[in-house]
């Protein structure tokens, strides 16, 4: 659990982060969204003390982060930045082994961990262990960056615009991978982005920042239905908020009992995708079918539309 208490950062006369308090639950993904200059990156960098707060404090599982030297703290916290920052003079395996080496792990344990991570990120160890970063594609570099951050099994992973440099298709894949990996390793992720779609897609909680202040911190659906501030409403998008709301609910969650002769959809599909399917096919209900072929229920257009209202 990460507890941010009254965190403030001033540079000269300018207040970049202004009295921000929030609590990040364990094993969750929290997205911090804001325009550039909103202080979101500074807030993130105060969690691993790359930036020292002017006032306020951060607790990691109840322990003040200032109780130990900053560089020791950072070895326990994964950190991923835009553009990866891979060490260009070190191989992929050496890059991933950075923190385990700093922690003095045994060579055999490091090797096993590097191999495991390469496989998790679908990078063939034989091909990629000894490759240098510039020999990889942008998407591969990004994956190595995340693997490096996770190498020492941190409980917390901080990500600063991690997918900012990727093209849309690779970005969607990287976001999916992150969700998988978070489920698999169960770490607490705090992710900074300026992209509200990304925040809604990844975050179970979303914090909206502007001008250094935290405007609202809540579940995505609450941000849409009860924005605390006109700026939050603008950020979440007034024009398509109903569609965004639909994209937050899966077919499995919304399925109701009853027969349907409409198209089959997976329970993991979002209502937005189901509605699009129904519009396209002209049917007025869809069957929600599990992977094993059993029918979970149906979704009528009316039931979907009802979910798009606050």
């Amino acid at each position: 659990m990460i507890t941010v208490e009254k965190l403030t950062k001033c540079y000269g006369g300018a207040t970049v982060v202004d009295d921000v308090s929030l609590t990040v639950e364990r094993n969750s993904i929290t997205a911090i969204v804001g325009t550039s200059g909103s202080g979101k990156s500074t807030l993130l960098r105060m969690i691993n003390r790359l930036v020292e707060p002017t006032s306020g404090r951060v607790l990691l599982d109840g322990r003040d982060t200032r109780d130990e030297p900053a560089y020791l703290l950072r070895r326990r916290i994964g950190y991923v930045i835009q553009g990866n920052g891979l060490f260009p003079h070190r191989t992929v395996a050496e890059n991933i082994a950075t923190v385990p080496r700093l922690l003095g792990w045994e060579a055999r344990r490091i090797e096993a961990r590097v191999r495991e991570l390469l496989e998790v990120f679908s990078l063939d160890p034989v091909t990629y262990s000894d490759a240098l970063p510039h020999q990889l594609s942008g998407g591969q570099q990004q994956r190595v960056g995340v693997a490096r951050a996770l190498a020492a099994e941190p409980l917390v992973l901080l990500m600063d615009e991690p997918f900012g440099a990727l093209d849309p298709i690779i970005r969607a894949k990287a976001q999916e991978d992150l969700l998988d990996i978070q489920r698999r390793f169960g770490m607490t992720v705090v992710l900074v982005t300026h992209d509200m779609d990304e925040a809604f897609r990844l975050g179970s909680q979303v914090a909206v920042m502007s001008g250094g202040r935290l405007l609202q911190y809540d579940r995505p659906a609450v941000l849409l239905t009860r924005p605390a501030d006109p700026f939050v409403a603008r950020m979440t998008g007034l024009a398509d908020r109903a569609m965004r709301l639909l994209s937050l609910v899966t077919a499995g969650e919304a399925a109701l009992p009853g027969p349907s002769d409409g198209p089959a959809v997976a329970p993991t599909a979002s209502l937005r995708e189901v509605l699009s399917d129904l519009l396209w096919s002209g049917a007025d209900s869809a069957r929600v079918v599990e992977a094993d072929g059993s029918v979970r229920g149906r979704l009528t257009v009316a039931a979907i539309l009802a979910r798009g209202r606050p």
Binding site: N48, L50, Y71, L72, L73, R74, R75, R76, Y79, I81, Q82, G83, N84, G85, L86, F87, P88, H89, T98, V99, L102, L132, H134, G145, R148, A149
Partner: protein
């Protein structure tokens, strides 16, 4: 291109070694440049010994300049040492602009004749390229890489040793190479204060109007400089990992 260039370099090396080992074999080539039956090949000392002595002086001076210049470069790129940048720059620039001959003149009364004043002059003269290249190398490390290094939990020292210096190494080595080459030539002036070196051959030629001597001293010095530069570059290519910085 590389194959032809390698062949040329090897040929130059073979020529240099052959000349230094058996200078008399080249006497017919140099004879037309002499007058009144003067010797065609320098005969007041062993050319090989002189060449090696000069090389030794230059390498020793380069070693000292490298330690000081790289050390200063590291110091002034740390937050705690940034205030020393103007001072360091001035010192290093003075070392470069103050003519080595003048340094010799100042140094001789203090440390006497021989190798020592030459070492001092070469040391001061060689600082600038190494210092400036170290500075550029350390300053142009990609910010994202440095941020990642700190974010991973490297201490300032670990970051310097395992990230910044390796990334700056190609530029630092280039500075050292440049400094070496400049000083191989400059070292010949050491002979005016009785340091052993090929300058002796050139001075003897000047005193006795023997063009052959002047040419021998000059050619051997020039060849050594070129081969040293290329040799170091080849070693770097062989042992340094290619690094793409973008």
């Amino acid at each position: 291109m590389p194959r032809a260039a390698t062949f040329l370099r090897l040929a130059a090396l073979a020529l240099l070694v052959a000349f230094l080992l058996k200078p008399q074999g080249f006497a017919p080539l140099f004879a037309p440049l002499t007058q009144y039956g003067a010797p065609a090949i320098y005969d007041q000392g062993n050319l090989l010994t002189l060449a090696l002595a000069q090389l030794g002086t230059v390498c020793l001076a380069a070693l000292a300049s490298s330690i000081v210049a790289v050390g200063l470069g590291i110091l002034v790129t740390r937050p705690s040492g940034a205030q020393f940048l103007p001072l360091s720059r001035t010192l290093v620039n003075v070392g470069q602009t103050f003519p080595p001959v003048a340094v010799l003149a100042v140094a001789v009364p203090m440390v006497g004749f021989g190798e020592r004043p030459t070492l001092i002059a070469l040391f001061a003269y060689g600082l600038l390229p190494i210092f400036e290249n170290t500075l550029v190398g350390l300053r142009t490390c990609p910010p994202a890489v440095l941020e990642a290094a700190s974010g991973m939990g490297m201490s300032a020292r670990q970051r310097l040793i395992s990230v910044e210096l390796p990334l700056a190494t190609p530029l630092i080595l280039e500075g050292i190479r440049l400094s070496l080459v400049i000083n191989v030539g400059t070292a010949t002036i050491g002979s005016t204060v009785a340091a052993k070196g090929l300058g002796e051959v050139i001075i003897a030629g000047l005193l006795s109007s023997n063009t052959a001597f002047i040419l021998q001293g000059g050619l051997v010095t020039g060849l050594m400089a070129i081969l040293l530069y290329d040799g170091m570059a080849a070693l770097e290519r062989r042992f340094l990992r290619p690094v793409a910085l973008d």
